[in-house]
């Protein structure tokens, strides 16, 4: 086999190996979903972005509220990005965006939502406490499904 053919034959396999190595490295360092990033690992871990939940905690009236980003249509793309790879960097970036958004306490549902013109109780940016990303955990002994925290970010970490 001539050198040119050998070199060109290796481009795709080397790329594939690169993406596998990157997948394993980012999974360890930045909590990348093992199914993503071209690692081709496929069936393996229960933890995948489809079964992850990202959200933020908000302090209001001495209570802590959790806002699940799946329920906020405006955050769809950012929610997906942090569920795919909830790295500190991504959470920090999202934290700043969340602080710039208008939030509201909905008394009838007792939950925090995006603000609308008829909002009665606005949430100030200072009340936003933390971004959290959870994975689904399955306990085979009790058959119980629950959430387990993967990563979180509080504003104080911003330098």
């Amino acid at each position: 086999m001539d050198k040119r053919l050998l070199f060109t034959s290796l481009i795709v396999p080397l790329l594939m190996v690169f993406f596998l190595v990157r997948n394993i490295a980012l999974e360890k360092s930045d909590h990348l979903d093992s199914w993503m990033g071209g690692g081709m690992r496929m069936f393996g871990k229960i933890d995948k972005m489809l079964y992850r939940v990202s959200g933020m905690t908000v302090i209001h009236n001495d209570s802590t509220y959790f806002v699940n980003f799946r329920n906020i249509a405006d955050l769809e793309n950012m929610d997906m990005a942090v569920r795919i790879m909830p790295s500190d960097k991504r959470l920090q970036r999202l934290y700043l965006i969340l602080k710039d958004m208008d939030w509201c306490y909905d008394r009838s549902k007792d939950e925090i939502n995006l603000s609308t013109p008829d909002c009665l109780t606005k949430i100030s940016p200072d009340q936003i406490l933390e971004i959290q990303v959870y994975r689904t955990d399955f306990n085979d002994d009790t058959n119980q499904i629950s959430f387990k925290l993967i990563n979180s970010f509080r504003g104080e970490k911003i330098e």
């Binding site: 481009i11 190996v17 394993i24 199914w35 993503m36 690992r41 393996g44 499904i145």
Partner: protein, 300 residues
């Protein structure tokens, strides 16, 4: 029958086969490369002319243009949005086609040979990585993954209810509870999954089966042809397709796998029995959405 298929205008000469392969690939891209606004708008405009005109389809610069989109959205921006593994394969196959056209220009027979060897390597590495991935997941090796998947993923409900004698309504309840659980505003919430205890044996079987078949495919596609195991590679892949896709329907992955299976199974630039099988899979894949196992439970 094989001789008749080889006489069809689509497969008569190596040129015909290569151009048919490219045409099929463009159709696959037309159906599946629509992940975001940019691709949904631009890909049909780019792909349609290639599907229609042979001259354009075999132009290396045309494929370089398609490759730009594949590389940008599937290899560079792959961690920004939802890019499943088979989309990476789309980019790899596009790259292989582009390289083959640059290497051999108008010698389509040689381009076909190159695409054949690249398809074999891509399939081999995919399954090798999938096998490695399973050894990196303790919950897979302990069958926990399949205990969970069999009772939460609706694609598996037919087999779970039949083999584990689990009431399908309980499984549907699992699915509904899990869906609302993922939208919950309470991270301390939990719930108990029905039926996981009844299918432990089946889960263990699926675990061993998956590791074995994927491992065998990975090795048989990557080892040199002088090893006897390599001769059985198509048999393993056919077995995998037949046992996997009627249940775990991942059409995008199945279709690109069938495409690569087709290309790598050619011998002396002619179709083999396996090529015809993969071609059949390509044509019959829309049936993937047919609920075979649920239908089975309805009658038996």
């Amino acid at each position: 029958m094989l001789a008749k298929v080889n006489r069809l205008s689509a497969f008569r000469t190596p040129d015909d086969i290569f151009l048919t392969c490219l045409q099929v690939l463009l159709v696959i891209f037309l159906i599946f490369m629509n992940d975001n606004g940019y691709l949904s708008i631009f890909m049909p405009v780019i792909l349609f002319p290639g599907i229609l005109f042979r001259e354009l389809r075999s132009n290396k610069f045309y494929w370089t243009f398609i490759l730009l989109f594949g590389v940008t959205f599937y290899l560079i921006l792959d961690l920004v949005g939802y890019v499943p593994n088979h989309k990476h394969i789309f980019a790899y196959v596009t790259l292989a086609v582009t390289v083959s056209l640059f290497l051999y220009n108008k010698s389509h027979g040689l381009s076909l040979d190159f695409l054949k060897s690249q398809s074999q390597i891509i399939i081999g590495l995919c399954f090798l990585f999938a096998t490695i991935g399973k050894f990196l997941a303790p919950e897979f090796l302990s069958s926990l993954f399949f205990d969970f998947t069999n009772t939460t993923d609706p694609r598996f409900f037919g087999s779970t209810s039949t083999i584990g004698h689990v009431d399908i309504n309980l499984l549907k309840e699992n699915e509904a509870t899990f869906t609302s659980f993922l939208k919950s505003n309470n991270p301390n919430e939990n719930f108990v999954l029905h039926g996981a205890d009844s299918i432990k044996g089946f889960s263990r079987f699926l675990t061993y089966w998956t590791i074995s078949i994927e491992g065998l495919i990975g090795i048989s596609f990557l080892i040199p042809q002088k090893f006897r195991l390599s001769e059985y590679r198509n048999l393993f892949l056919v077995l995998f397709i037949l046992t996997t896709y009627p249940i775990a329907t991942v059409t995008g992955f199945a279709i690109i796998l069938a495409f690569m299976g087709f290309v790598q199974s050619l011998e002396d630039r002619k179709l083999t029995v396996y090529s015809v099988f993969y071609l059949g899979v390509l044509l019959l894949l829309p049936l993937n959405s047919f609920p075979f196992t649920r239908l089975y439970t309805l009658f038996f």
